[in-house]
Symmetry: C3
Subunit: 383 residues, 3 copies
């Protein structure tokens, strides 16, 4: 007879539960439980404890950064070898105190340039010449400083180059001494950062909320003793970036400063403190800039500066987390999927790999025949 | 006898369906259905309707911002108390019209500085002295304006400070009057923003596509009447940020402007309009900058400006959504996981919490014994 | 009798497997297998092969960009129609070589402005007047250049405008010739980019690691022959952005340059090369800037420049992927969820849509009655 083909028609509110075969098969049983355990550990240990899967997160905060460099340095043998004082208005570019700033540590000055003709610098291979024919008039020198006039002139006693029309005299690194802003290592960089997590409407600053004007003038950052004083000494920064100020300041470099906020809003806000990390992104960093002026005859002059120094790229990454129902549900849901997988796997083993597989198979599957037996079933029942 | 251990060997294309126990257990039945309902509501209501889980999203648009400030203001008692006109070229820094710009609303000018020796400003505690010994020659003043010469001189009738070599005279806030750019409140900020969602190759601008040159000169932003005119009055912006222009303009501040695009590409493009929000990120914002000039003897002078004002940080966040097969599948899949969870939960209740639990348990699990019984089964069948 | 209500109490390590009804129903069987196949293809083909679901990804790299423009151009009829040479220090703003830079291609110069009174430019509708009453003294001209003095004066033979106090003479586009930096099309833009994926602590640069100083001076970018030479000719860039340099250089524009890194760390690092793409974000781009100077009497002058040109917004998007256990698990998990869905669907068909549905239903569900039958079961067993 076919088992269990009663006339049982399930009603909506009857609870139906799968029928199970109970196999005294220890081997598979152990595997099965082990998988369960593993999955449970994964869900609880990893998803919930480690990854905090029960929390909603906002990882795209608004933020603002205000930076201030402090310090003053002196350079020798600048224009006709006089001393020059550099203060914040001189050595920070741009000066607005945004999240990217450049600190001059070294420079090459070519002062008093005017627009006239002179011999191009021989470092530009394109400008070297032996006769006028080598210099096509009106053609700019490749990577050069001006437009060729068509003449080939002596640059110095040894080399001759094309004459150009441009800002003359041309910059000539080899000749110029490099004065250094040595005191720059003692400059301090103040990084004020305010983050706002719109999802939780939660704001936080990395500075002490104090009325004491002088606090930030005297403090230095220390994760333990003064976590709310984001004032860093340039030398420290460079050291943390794994470099020596001495070397790096000659040719400059790019330093990435990252402020990382990890705020668990289920815990006291005081624990939500940023971490600062500094990485060297690039060695060598320089750019050219010029200041213009005019003499009495309104003739235009310029001082060309090739500035070497550190560029600080300050980036902020933030993540705020707070308990949420939906994320909890999702984490649970995905976790459950695995339980299904475990069963699936064990069935495979039991029904196809176990040596009594065929028996189990025959038991697991109970054949039912189309309604003609309906009758017989009736009878058996009515006996 | 063991039930259902027929020699039924399933073929690949036979469909197998779990066998269920039908328990007339209303309690669990209700719970079960309720859970189903809840999950269904969650999937349909939340995942699909609220979160639009059937849509593919691109939340990382390319974008460009062009800003233009318009207006002109007058300041009294600037250099030897004459009036000074400020126009866009004077009060916007940097002037390139990028997504970060600084609007000068107030300033302290220290004009005609030259590099020489003078008394340091006593606000720098490090510079205060009573005798020359307090001033170590060649040492820079901490947070100060120059290098100590080693002399202790009178700063004014009351205080004496170390003499420094630096840009003199030093800035002295207490003495200087602060002229204000009062008309700044009526300046207008034009924010042109173009976003491009590469995933859907969809571009959109926040400006009216008009040939009328004067349109943007006369319109003001209004979400209803003129949504395509992103021209904001500074005063409005500050007000929206919850501040008063009067107060904030004295010491400056940082205002974050966020442009939010939420574009549902399954709906007409016209509905995809940005929202503008302004938040005060920080009060107090200033920086120092200088302009340099030379007299006939090529002596270098500079005018030092400590500029106070508003920094506008304009950020763009965008999200475009469009129907996609994969996201739909994923949303469904995760949803289904819960159904499994529901069954799991109810079984627990039925088999371990229900008062007839042990009975249900015994029914749910049908013991099967290794093949030796195989035989008997045969017989029973063949009767 | 009730089937299978033996006194079988499951032990923890007994393996339990669902009991299945084996229906020889081909139709549903085929559907079922087909769904399985589909899901399998989806998981393997899409999730794993296409989307690389087994990999952990870091899509938020630190990066630094250093840009350098090279070239020199000449403009005719500048101030009193003399020639003017423009080199990098002149035509790049800001000059720091960051990820946003502006290349001047055209400009309007209004030289020798001083602060005095003059007639406002009639393009400002607000400034047009017929009598003094039209000009309210002390009121700034809307979008204008100064403060009205209250007089209505002749601007030229045809028009009369309000007199203003401001930087005079006012800028007057109609009059000024526009000299163009034609050679700009041959300028080269060098984009050095270093990315660092902190999750995998993996760094990479887009430049050849060479000691040869001249390499980057002579090479041009080519994805095949010179992928490590990120030097682009301006003209190329504009062309790639789908524009003609000729047209665009007149009014300027905004070009977005995107550097895309896709690094599969399971494969050799050499294969991780960036892709460069250029898009025109906006046509028309200009801003005003001024240089200031003083005559012997310390009278302030300025040269006002309305600069037209290209703004290059360089953005970096990066994604590094590497095999990870967790993502693999998650991908599998979500995939499994679908298998459940397939069963669910097929059961629906079998039990409610199939013509023998009611029969299958009656077989699938085996009714069990509360313990009073417990007894009878005993008996049947003991027979």
């Amino acid at each position: 007879m076919d088992a269990g083909c009663a006339q049982a028609q399930p009603a909506l509110l009857d609870y139906k539960t799968e029928k199970y075969l109970l196999t005294k098969n220890r081997k598979v049983g152990v595997i099965y439980r082990f998988l369960h355990l593993a999955i449970l550990c994964y869900i609880i240990g990893w998803v919930f404890l480690a990854k905090k899967g029960y929390q909603d997160t906002d990882s795209d905060p608004h933020f603002s950064i205000i930076t201030k460099l402090k310090g003053v340095s002196i350079t020798k043998n600048f224009r006709n070898s006089q001393e020059k004082i550099w203060d914040v208005a001189d050595f920070v570019k741009p000066s607005q105190g945004e999240n990217v700033l450049f600190l001059v540590t070294n420079f090459i000055a070519t002062t008093g340039q005017v627009q006239r003709t002179c011999a191009e610098n021989p470092v530009n291979s394109d400008a070297r010449c032996s006769e006028n024919l080598d210099c096509v008039a009106g053609e700019p020198v490749v990577n050069g400083n001006g437009i060729k006039t068509g003449k080939c002139v002596m640059f110095n006693h040894t080399q001759s180059t094309c004459e150009i029309y441009g800002w003359c005299p041309v910059e000539n690194e080899s000749l110029l001494r490099k004065p250094r802003l040595n005191e720059a290592e003692n400059f301090t960089l103040f990084i004020k950062n305010v983050v706002h997590f719109s999802k939780f409407n939660f704001s936080r600053a990395n500075t002490l909320d104090t009325s004491d004007e002088t606090y930030f003038k005297n403090c230095r950052y220390n994760p333990v003793s003064s976590p709310y004083c984001p004032v860093f000494q340039i030398q420290e920064i460079i050291t943390q970036a794994g470099q020596s100020f001495e070397e790096l300041s000659v040719m400059g470099g790019v330093v990435a400063a990252r402020i990382e906020w990890k705020c668990d809003l289920d815990r006291p806000a005081a624990e939500c403190l940023p971490q600062y990390s500094f990485r060297l992104q690039d060695t060598k960093n320089n750019f050219r800039t010029a200041t213009y002026y005019w003499d009495q005859e309104r003739k235009e002059y310029r001082d060309l500066f090739k500035l070497y120094g550190f560029r600080f790229d300050i980036s902020v990454t933030g993540e705020a987390r707070k308990f949420g129902v939906v994320p909890t549900a999702v984490s649970l849901g995905t976790g459950c999927a695995f339980l299904g997988a475990a069963t699936f796997l064990c069935d495979l083993i039991l029904l196809y790999l176990d040596k009594k597989a065929s028996f189990y198979r025959s038991c697991k599957y109970e054949e039912v025949k189309p309604p003609k037996n309906q009758q017989t079933i009736q009878e058996t029942r009515n006996e």
